[in-house]
Amino acid sequence: MRSRATLVTGCLIVALVLAVAAVSMVWTPYDPNHVDAARQLAGAGGEHLLGTDQLGRDVASRLMVGARITVFAGVVAVGIALLAGVPMGVVAGMTGGWLSTVIMRVSDFLLAFPALLLAIMLAAVYGSGTLTAMVAIGIASAPGFARVSRAATLRVMTAEYIDAARLAKRGRVAIALRHVLPNIADIVIVQASVSFSTAILAEAALSYLGLGTTPPTPSWGRMLQESQDLLFSTPQLSLWPGLAVAATVLGLNLLGDGLRDRVDPALEGVR
């Protein structure tokens, strides 16, 4: 029962973030980048729901656009990790032998290579930006997908229907697409939800370091960085984006846990 509650809560939070992100594409209370010297650091309430920042920009509008950046960051990073990691894992799991060894060594190496360092380097070459940062995080997350999907593939390969498919002289690609992928999908989805929250945390951290989303586009991490100097005088400016990051990650984690319990009922109640 508890896992159900977890799943529902997670779904609700994630749906809220998605909804806010979607709405921000067509409407925000104010232009999120509009500077208004007459309204610097306005408090919450009044004309500006959550107040304004040091440049007089509407915090609520910026938070909304920040949600969109967050979703975008997660989708890009997880997309890259999925597209790179799952084929690696499936191939390694299906073929075995030296190819499998090479793939797994490469992924071990990537695991040891600090993701943040990769992001710093890519930012130096291509300039900082949400996309650059997320490509780095995507590459760094790929080995996780490779490992999970290899393990799942190994298990699937022992199933009878694979033997049947082989006897029917199906090609390897066909077996991978028709039999392996559908049967490892659930585990990959769980991994995706975990990676999604990792990616969001990474985007926030990189933007905080000034290596992620470029100004004036509001990213929650950048909003945190911009407001840190004002922690002594206007602490609420750090509160809102902080809350947004934490709530979103919490939602994704709950969703991931709920899904995992569904996929792997043996674990119910344990996690």
Binding site: N33, V35, A37, D229
Partner: protein, 499 residues
């Protein structure tokens, strides 16, 4: 926390040694012979003849090194190691009469030979572009032990001015073997110790020729970030916060019983550069439109809490020819739109490639929004500073717009060089500067004024503001330089009150 200063009576030599030993854990609050100054940018080496960066002359010029002439708080040239100088009628020859009681900290006397050596050294050893200012020198010769004659290829006021900057620093012929670590000069202080990444300790030069400095030691403590700097000031670990990074944080130092805020002018112009060689900024009207479109007062208020001076050309209040508000453009978005329409540049996309420094990032966001109001689409690209910005914007001029502070004093020449990253190519401006340089000092001011007016009318760039020289200091400190006029942060005149 109340100030914990013990009355001056209890001072003794013993306390001074305590200060020296305890410099790492902060200034000794009980000593009025010692001073600890918190700064952010630290010197990479101690040799400004081979390494660039404002931090080296900031620490050493006027403290460890001195020139034949120096600049005063009003921007006037005053005698330094030369007790006087004569300028020939044609402006080509300067004769410096040296003080004869000056010694280097390596014990050697300062003579005409050292002066000639130092001037020639700039032309042979220095690697930096500023050394080119010495190219005007035809010869530097010793007349007698106390007299040096410098002959220029052409008359130059700038040359005399440049002798007040780091390139005019006087070196001992026997003291240049290890300048990166051990500078040898004639100044009121000498380097006692240097702990990279932490602090530079200066101690009083006991053999100094001039008035005895009130301070025995000055510790320059380098912080990585303004937050730590503020904390150190609040905690009393430092006596002077040498550069307030974010003026909003001044509210931390409201306590008048402990702190004084020093708000003077600097020579650091924050320039919104426009690539004059590229569309759309080849067109003067577009550049002017940008200047009309920016609400400079709002920008200063939002990004600098209103601290700083609004300027309209490459000038500072400490320049003798400073024209005040007359070079500024009023905020007039309607006029900006009209100009853009005339030039057919409405809706143009612009790449603003800025260094990833906080002041540039916050100013860029305001500029971006204000230009959006008149129909220019600006995309901000923060580039790593220094490496990438220097390489792409400064060296290759691969940019449409940028923002950076030009900190060097009297750097009007940067707009006279068509290869400089502004790519501003106006022979009339260059000619005016040349004329100002060659004329008598009286004519020079009028010519400079004309040149800077032309620069402003041409909208070679936009000047966002002049960085304030903002410092926070312990209430009982006296004699800190209010305006930053030259390259050095000088401590010779600083003292604790009550002593």
């Amino acid at each position: 926390m109340p100030p914990r200063r013990i009355p001056a009576l209890t001072l003794s030599a013993a306390l001074v040694t305590v200060t020296l030993a305890g410099c790492g854990s902060g200034a000794d609050r009980h000593s009025t012979d010692a001073l600890t100054v918190g700064l952010v940018a630290e010197p990479a080496t101690l040799d400004f003849s081979t390494t660039d960066g404002a931090a080296i002359p900031q620490a050493l010029l006027g403290n460890v090194y001195e020139g034949l002439v120096r600049i005063d708080q009003q921007g006037r040239i005053q005698p330094g190691l030369a007790k006087s100088y004569d300028r020939s009628a044609d402006g080509r020859t300067y004769t410096f009469h040296l003080r004869n009681n000056v010694k280097f900290t390596n014990g050697k006397a300062f003579t005409a030979d050292d002066a000639v050596f130092s001037i020639n050294r700039v032309r042979t050893v220095w690697k930096l572009k500023i050394a080119q200012q010495m190219d005007d020198v035809r010869s530097a010769t010793k007349v007698d032990a106390d007299t040096v004659k410098v002959t220029l290829k052409r008359p130059s006021n700038n040359w005399l001015y440049s002798m007040t900057t780091r390139i005019g620093a006087m070196y001992s012929r026997d003291g240049v073997s290890d300048l990166k670590e051990h500078p040898v000069g004639t100044g009121p202080f000498e380097v006692e110790s240097w702990q990279r990444g932490d602090s530079l300790v200066l101690k009083r030069n006991t053999g100094y020729w001039g008035a005895r400095p009130a301070l025995d030691t000055v510790t320059l403590k380098y912080f990585k970030d303004s937050g730590a700097l503020n904390n150190a000031m609040l905690a009393g670990d430092i006596n002077v916060l040498g550069a307030v990074q974010a003026p909003e944080t001044l509210s931390l130092f409201k306590d008048k019983s402990r702190f004084q805020v020093i708000d003077g002018s600097s020579t650091s112009e924050v320039v919104l550069s426009m690539n004059n060689s590229r569309k759309p900024f080849q067109d003067k009207r577009v550049r002017q439109a940008v200047r009309y479109a920016i609400d400079h007062e709002a920008l200063l208020k939002t990004t600098r809490a209103g601290r700083g001076t609004l300027i309209g050309s490459q000038e500072s209040p400490s320049d003798p020819w400073y024209a005040g508000a007359s070079n500024r453009y009023p905020y007039d978005p309607a006029k900006a739109k009209r100009l853009l329409k005339e030039a057919g540049a409405e809706g143009t996309s612009i790449r603003m490639r800025i260094p990833n420094l906080p002041y540039a990032v916050s100013a860029a966001q305001v500029v971006q929004d204000q230009l959006a109001q008149v129909g220019l689409k600006v995309r901000i690209e923060p580039l790593e500073f220094p490496a990438r910005w220097l390489s792409e914007v400064f060296d290759k001029a691969d940019y449409d717009m940028s923002i950076i502070a030009h900190a060097e004093p009297r750097d009007q020449w940067i707009f006279a060089d068509p290869h400089y990253y502004f790519r501003y190519d106006n022979p009339a401006y260059a000619r005016l500067l040349q004329k100002a340089d060659a004329g008598s000092p009286q004519e020079a001011s009028a010519d400079y004024r004309r040149a800077l007016k032309l620069l402003s009318q041409d909208a070679a760039a936009d000047w966002l503001y002049l960085v304030p020289n903002l410092m926070v200091a312990d209430k009982s400190l006296r004699g800190l330089p209010v305006n930053q006029v030259g390259e050095g942060l000088e401590f010779a005149g600083v003292r604790w009150s009550g002593k």
